[in-house]
Subunit: 455 residues, 2 copies
């Protein structure tokens, strides 16, 4: 062990961030604006406030303010489970026999089991402050729904969760955690909404998708007095809140003189990757430092590596604003067998723009190799990782093994977004040798990309 | 918030304990020795070494050495998940509107989800050091089995786990976590052992008990070359290893000038309670401080509050050494519907002796009131607690509410031993209003107590 670097770095409360960082403020070329699907014009604050809480709509549209104060109530809540540890993977380094130094920022030490709580509490706070009765949302793997249930329970808000049907069935215990925190959980698509009924009529056997669930949640929010819709990823406001991950990481790195060469995160909608890399990206955009950023996505849902950069619907029901993003088409539904939280058809506009500018690399990895890395990591580093996080582990291990070949002592930082406690069905498949890989064909992608809106 | 006390106290690596504390050394009247069930004489190191690793057998018999060095390899492993946070329950205090100050030591921030890893790694280390091929054990709720699987995976040892059948069936995901870490898991009673076959023949529909599972694990360990048996609770060596909980707590308390008035822990076999209170008890035994210690047990398995203090078998199959302890009789099997890890018929000899000397109080609490406290705690403090830990929460809340009545500003410290991620079947029952209480009748207890060995 390096005597100067503890196994786990916990910041003191006094070192915790008190402001979120908005990477858009440092981008010369900004992410493209959200468009009103009816008019094709950039959406206004007023229009957006019908869907989101007003303060969150403001944050969504603000691409110039670099730092935004975190309200005291949210800071207090953060103290319940933050700081998260920045961990030196000494045991993994040793097992790989690599000269690379590997660090991971572990966000799983809270009951939601992931980083999602960082934005959930912010969104619940602003909803409460606006005097709302409740919020609606969707959840895929269940991490976001759990996080939001916890935050709403804390803020005394109603919470209605539309859970992608295949997750609802695979993860009854996730549902039960949400119920314990007082949430209503409905499998999606459902017959509780018009859009759900329509999707069910068109695709009777569907196992659902995030896109469907979003449509249902938005419909309920916009048609119920005192409700708004909240979303756990993709949005720029979510990346803003998630910047606490990167801000804590950069403070810890600076404190111990750690300079990451490579920063790796899994990417579904982009909440974790965006949160982790934002402050580092800011330094790079300001010309202060250089890093290699790697987004890792599942080969089964490869929006960055095989999608197109275009305006698209954020949801299957086409009720949300249009976003310019790397997308596979809003009709794309990955195989139900495949990685929980990384099943969204598109990617955060902020990350899409950074990727398009060549500031981020992207890799897609196959499911079985991800679980191989997950199991290896669990046995060596102790923590059983979420399948989502394990995408980042896969590439971190690959990069560390490259260092072994070249002899380079690179410093690798990756985001370990959560735990796999609620993913044991997937682990069981892997343990039983019944897990398969799935890569969409070009024809499948062509089909869903054909449905892009004309803007 | 009290500005001087952070929400969570994390010690620096340099402040972590490097020695375990053996409370027996400070006890004037020592716990009664283990007896050889054949001869009725105190068991010798040689005899005990047939069941346990030699070094662990030494620790089991050593009631005079106050501090024992923690080997460097174990210290390194501890750094993967320790220090555990000592948390000030500011939000709970506020919700209860109590003048009491409430702290909890949270041991759930590791994949086993509980404090059990503290002893698992120690036992796996000594087994490896002795050149063994593997270890056998039993697990009830699955926390110990998971912890041991992790430790054995890390130490590259075989791990055979006998899991109490009702838990095996209620918690398939626990089993899968153990498999992911490479363990063999068998539901107990099973037909893989003589004692298992015998129990199955006598009680064909039995859902198992810790006592049965112990017998099976011991049989396999003592009849298989290169194997020894390890146990996650009850034993004095386990309390020794678990003293890291109390040592970290006392260091954190001293650092911030916190003086607990009341220290509360749940008590099944006693591993958590013993670990938490040992160093505080040491101060009290040496006349340096006074505390009120409270052991909380389920009303369904009330060994301290309704058992007798006598020599008894540690296992149903009667193959283990006899221990003097508070016991309900080794044939006692609590209702399968009831609290996971607190189903053992007896109590640690060390804690039994301290209780007999009047140094510990005991309370028994009913299951529904425990889950009421668990849900309240989850919603207020964020963390979803294990049912076991929630016994301590119940009494901590009760004590804080007493302070509200009397206006006393007492400082309460309790052990939050783990998370409830794998206990969602029980939470579901509670959420659905289908949970019941169960208190054994006097006749039931009389029946199992009639079977005590004549010593």
């Amino acid at each position: 062990m390096d005597k100067n670097i503890p196994y786990k770095i916990y910041l003191d409360e006094s070192e915790l961030p008190t402001k979120w960082y908005n990477v858009r403020a440092d981008m010369k070329k900004k992410p493209a604006p959200l468009l009103n699907p009816g008019t094709g014009q950039p959406i206004t604050l007023d229009e957006l406030s019908h869907v989101f809480c007003t303060e969150l709509a403001k944050q969504e549209l603000d691409d110039t303010t670099p730092y935004i104060d975190i309200p005291q109530e949210i800071l207090d809540f953060y103290k319940m489970y933050r700081p998260s540890p920045l961990t030196r993977a000494y045991f993994l380094e040793k097992a790989l026999d690599t000269p690379a130094k590997i660090y991971y920022k572990f966000e799983g030490n809270n009951t939601s089991g992931s980083h999602k709580l960082n934005s959930a509490i912010a969104q619940a706070y602003y909803a409460k402050k606006q005097g709302l009765k409740g919020v609606t949302t969707e959840t895929g793997a269940g991490q976001w729904g759990t996080a939001l249930s916890m935050a709403c329970s804390y803020m005394d808000l109603d919470c209605k969760v539309y859970m992608v049907k295949c997750s609802y069935e695979q993860k009854p215990f996730r549902r039960e955690v949400m119920r314990t925190y007082g949430a209503d959980v409905t499998p999606s698509p459902s017959d509780t909404t018009e859009v759900g009924k329509k999707i069910l009529a068109e695709f009777p056997g569907t196992t659902g998708s995030l896109g469907c669930a979003i449509s249902e949640a938005v419909e309920v929010a916009t048609s119920t007095e005192g409700y708004r819709y909240v979303l756990g990823s993709v949005l720029s406001q979510v990346l803003l809140h998630q910047s606490v991950i990167g801000l804590e990481s950069i403070t810890a790195c600076d404190k111990y003189g750690i300079k990451p060469d490579i920063i790796i995160g899994c990417a579904g909608g982009g909440s974790n990757l965006g949160g982790l890399i934002s402050p580092f990206m800011g330094r790079q955009l300001r010309g202060e430092e250089e890093y290699k950023f790697i987004a890792v996505e599942p080969a089964s849902c490869p929006s960055l590596t095989r999608g197109v950069y275009a305006y698209d619907f954020c949801d299957t029901g086409k009720v949300c604003p249009l976003a310019k993003m790397y997308t596979l088409g809003s009709g794309f539904i990955p195989s139900p067998n495949h990685a929980g939280g990384l099943r969204y058809h598109g990617m955060s506009s902020v990350l899409s723009e950074l990727y398009d500018q060549g500031l981020i690399e992207a890799r897609s990895v196959e499911q079985t190799s991800v679980f191989e890395a997950a199991t290896q990591f669990a046995r060596i580093e102790g923590t059983l990782p979420a399948p989502e996080s394990s995408h980042a582990i896969r590439v971190a291990i690959d990069e560390a093994l490259k260092c072994k070949e070249t002899g380079e002592e690179k410093t690798i930082l990756f985001g370990l977004t959560g735990t796999g406690y609620f993913d044991m069905v997937a682990y069981q498949k892997y343990n039983d040798g019944e897990m398969s890989d799935y890569i969409p064909t070009d024809d499948e992608l062509k089909k869903s990309l054909n449905e892009l809106p004309k803007v």
